[in-house]
Amino acid sequence: MTHTNPIQNSGPPPGGAPATTTSLLADPVFLADLRRQMLKFAVLQLGDPHLAEDAVQEALVGALKNARSFAGRAAIKTWVFAILKNKIIDQLRLRITDNKRLAYPDAEESNDPDPFDDRGIWQAEERPHVWRDPEGSIEQQQFWRVFEACLEHLPTEQGRIFMMREFVEMESHEICAAVGITVSNLHVILYRARLRLRACLEDTWFVPKEFAPEVPSC
């Protein structure tokens, strides 16, 4: 959590003279990292790499056009991602008006693994453990690779719907209109996505199977 700043004692603190959008986006390493993650974020949600590329480009141009001062990288990436979120929502809304609704295959539902037994109780292998230090994981690049891989493992439309809700935070009724489902369908889909995602994150990051202690039932 604590980053030691190598220039702390040899000059003014970075917060002293706020960097502008333009100066930060001119840093090639930062720009490359930012661009790569924006693209990943957009592709996950839009599916189409060309549309994603356009959204990222527009967001970056928009950020430069309305250049502001920021107290550092954390502030600018939050801002640029907020612009990108709006571009993605615009794209998703466009699909509604184009009447190109996302197809949601019903068959997908039966493919979901069932972590519960016949009595409706957690199966031994599936019982959720305590996740230690999720805040610490946020700081680790490796964690985000695992997170993205788990999202990619979701059935396509289930993942898309989860991201509409949790990433760009669209309202339920808007998601239902975009996908052509009822609110109770939406709730079931979100529930299934959460069951899968939590299992994936637990098995691959928080409590790897080989180290998982046995958990008693309830």
Partner: protein
């Protein structure tokens, strides 16, 4: 008495809508006794927080990977 399947479903719905008094009561009785479902409830809230962090660019490194940050302002040319 609620079983884990129904309890986890309600825990997920609780993030989407206001549960009825009866639902809340059933859920609280269940999670009082069931560590597994209590953990599940915490995990899906964490999942929401992680998603929000991701959507705010948390996956972009804050610091340059090497410690060349001292040069960052002069890199233009």
């Amino acid at each position: 008495m609620l079983k884990c399947r129904a309890a986890t479903r309600l825990l997920s719905e609780e993030l989407e809508r206001k549960l009825s008094f009866r639902e809340v009561l059933g859920l609280r009785f269940h999670t009082l006794e069931c560590t597994n479902c209590r953990n599940f409830g915490r995990q899906i809230k964490t999942l929401r927080q992680l998603s929000q962090s991701y959507a705010q660019g948390a996956s972009v490194p804050d610091q340059p990977q090497d410690s060349a940050s001292a040069n960052q302002a002069d890199d233009r040319n």
